[in-house]
């Protein structure tokens, strides 16, 4: 960390001394929540980014120089993220990476847009590796933002399809979510997919985010509604406590989740998680030999197998690397607009399918895997006896949801 701080100061002084005529290395800035209550997810994104950048540099970097990764701690909130983004821009960062929160994602995308407006010729690109609120590719869509993660529509569509094919969906579904943009998007998606999934939403509930300790009243409501399946976008404590309360209350419903593979969940839940479903962007078992190679290489370099948001982050940076390979330097430096245009048409192959970008709203088209918690899984989670066994892999075309009409992207001339 100190090294990076020294690098930043050195870079700042070099910038002060005037322009650099020869090749300028590409600087990628990670503005993440690296400390405080939500640090766990920020650190997971950081691990994925570090691994992918190391691989990029091992393959030669860009324009003969290594790509530099600068890390900034957004101190847990949008205001801190805004400050650190300005610091990153002052340090010469051209590609900003962020993923751990939709609120921060909203702030970063707007700040990037305003900076690009005020500083033509010095644009920066925002690579979003995890903020899944729909508005980021909706009202707030902008040419320099790329979302390399799912979104509520894509996730829920794949989840209900996968659960239906595994005969685990039933006809009565209960939607319980956190009361903010992501949770509301998931709820809307569950309602929208009723015809597609052949089920009826018996009831939907929104609850306060990260404030509730005791989910027993909600379990009582779910039990009273007679639902066979519960679909939830909850993460962290809200998911874990909900599942523990459901076991304690003897609820017989099946859970379809988005974030069950967050480290610590399976360790804490144990066998009560068995039989529940998750939709995620990668499952090593579904990736065959390629998947095994990826997992082994990651574990050797980072010390643990890639779980949760790490695989999708690695693939996102691989997309960036592929686009960089196809971007020629202009005047010795990277032209952000040309890079963004190239990124729009980039495709890579991952162990579970092909990734590409939809030019109309810059939402990545990525494959989705629906898995079930089981003892038969090849890769165990959290050092327990349980892991995620893939049930169905949806290719990028199958998983895609249509672009939103609210996105009116303005392209540079």
């Amino acid at each position: 960390m100190l090294v990076h701080s020294i690098v930043r100061t050195a870079v700042a002084s070099a910038a002060l001394l005037g322009g650099i005529a020869h090749a300028a290395p590409v600087k990628i800035g990670l503005v993440e929540t690296l400390s405080g209550p939500q640090a766990s997810s920020g650190q997971a994104y950081r691990a994925g980014v570090r691994y992918a950048i190391d691989r990029l540099n091992a393959a030669g970097g860009w324009n003969g120089e290594s790509v530099q990764l600068l890390e900034y701690d957004n101190q847990g909130g949008p205001a801190g993220a805004s400050d650190k983004l300005k610091a990153a821009i002052a340090d010469g960062v051209q590609i900003v990476v962020q993923g751990s929160s939709s609120a921060i994602g909203g702030q970063v995308t707007e700040d990037v847009r305003k900076h690009n407006l005020r500083n033509p010729g010095k644009e920066i690109v925002y690579i979003n590796v995890g903020a899944e609120a729909l508005e980021l590719t909706g009202e707030k869509c902008n040419f320099h933002h790329f979302r390399f993660a799912g979104n509520a529509q894509v996730r829920v569509k794949a989840l209900v399809d996968g659960m239906k094919q595994a005969n685990a969906l039933g006809t009565k579904v209960y939607a319980i979510n956190q009361n903010y943009s992501w949770g509301q998007d998931v709820e809307q998606a569950v309602v929208d997919n009723q015809a597609y999934g052949g089920y009826k939403v018996v009831e939907k509930t929104l609850h306060d985010v990260n404030k509730i300790q005791d989910f027993a009243p909600y379990i009582a409501k779910i039990g009273a509604s007679g639902a066979e399946t519960v679909i939830t976008g909850n993460w962290s404590n809200d998911l874990l406590l909900l599942m523990k309360a459901s076991k304690a209350g003897g609820l017989k419903a099946r859970f379809g989740t988005v974030y069950l593979d967050q480290p610590g969940n399976i360790a804490n839940a144990g066998e009560l998680a068995a039989g529940h479903f998750i939709v995620h962007a990668f499952n090593a078992e579904a990736g065959g030999a390629e998947g095994q190679r990826f997992v082994d290489d990651y574990k050797a370099k980072m010390g643990h197998v890639p779980v949760f948001v790490e695989p999708q982050t690695v693939f996102a940076i691989e997309m960036v690397a592929e686009a960089l390979k196809r971007s020629k330097p202009e005047g010795g430096a990277l032209n952000a607009n040309a890079f963004a245009k190239t990124l729009e048409s980039t495709k890579i192959t991952t162990p579970v399918g092909e990734w590409s970008v939809r030019a109309s709203d810059h939402q990545a088209l990525l494959p989705m895997v629906v898995s079930m918690v089981s003892k038969d899984a090849k890769y165990k989670a959290d050092d327990t006896a349980f892991g995620f066994k893939p049930v169905k892999v949806f290719s990028a075309e199958q998983a895609a949801a249509p672009a939103q009409a609210s996105c009116k992207m303005q392209r540079p001339g």
Partner: protein, 313 residues
Amino acid sequence: MDAVVFAVLNGVIYGLLLFMVSAGLTLIFGMMGVLNFAHASFYMLGAYFAYALQGLVGFAGAVVLSTLLVGGVGVVVERGFLRRVHRHGHAHELLLTFGLSFIVAELVKLFFGNYPVDYRVPKALDFAAFAVGTQQYPVYRVLMGGIALLMFAAIYLLLTRTRIGIVVRAAIYRPRMVEALGHHVQLVFMGVFGIGAALAGLAGAVAGAFYTTNPNMALEIGVMVFVVVVVGGLGSLAGAMLASLLIGILTSLAVGVDASIADLAALVGAREWAQGIGGLLTLKLSSLAATIPFALMLLVLLLRPSGLMGERT
């Protein structure tokens, strides 16, 4: 009707957990006038110590040992830190405990990591006690409630029926006089702080297995504990019990109510008007469940600032 029974039962059990944590805080405040921001950190420490010791001495042993350890930490905090800043005023004490809460949370993250740890209810206690309709109540929850009630009874009897209790209560009102009568008031303060911390540690050791044990535990329960103590009356044990139960039941009942003020306005035919205004009037009570305790706290502070059962000064 079933729904109301569930809600009340759930609320009572959650309220008893809140009582376990806030009992210590209200005692400490009543005794020393120190509003201890690090109290919720003792709760978290209790859970983590029990998790760490569970492999060595089994679940029951871990709970007992961790309670004693947290009590020890409380004594150290009082003797080493609080006593030094006592003469500089309330603000310094509060800020010191606030800084301590930061330190404890970061130390826990340093040693145990950022993710929740595998501290679970032992198999022997993991079954249902009884069922009401379709919902089951696990034995462990009943056990937690039982421990809370035992705690209440024990502290109450200790304070009212034993000599030590009389000395402690006297030291609340007239510490100098008690000192003049030959009692070691400093030791009494230290003991009370230690016992308050130990109670929070016990609550953590017991509840951490049922809920999750993660580094944000202190933040999650911290503010709620303050609300309980303020609503119940600073220094009143019975008030803390009453307030915990009230808040538990209200929150639980609210979850089941999907109505809003607009629905209330429908009674006088003004639903469209209320919905047109939107905002606060169309918010459903169920999504506001976690906000109700703060509204209650503000109400109590404005109308009866000494709390529901506090002493009027």
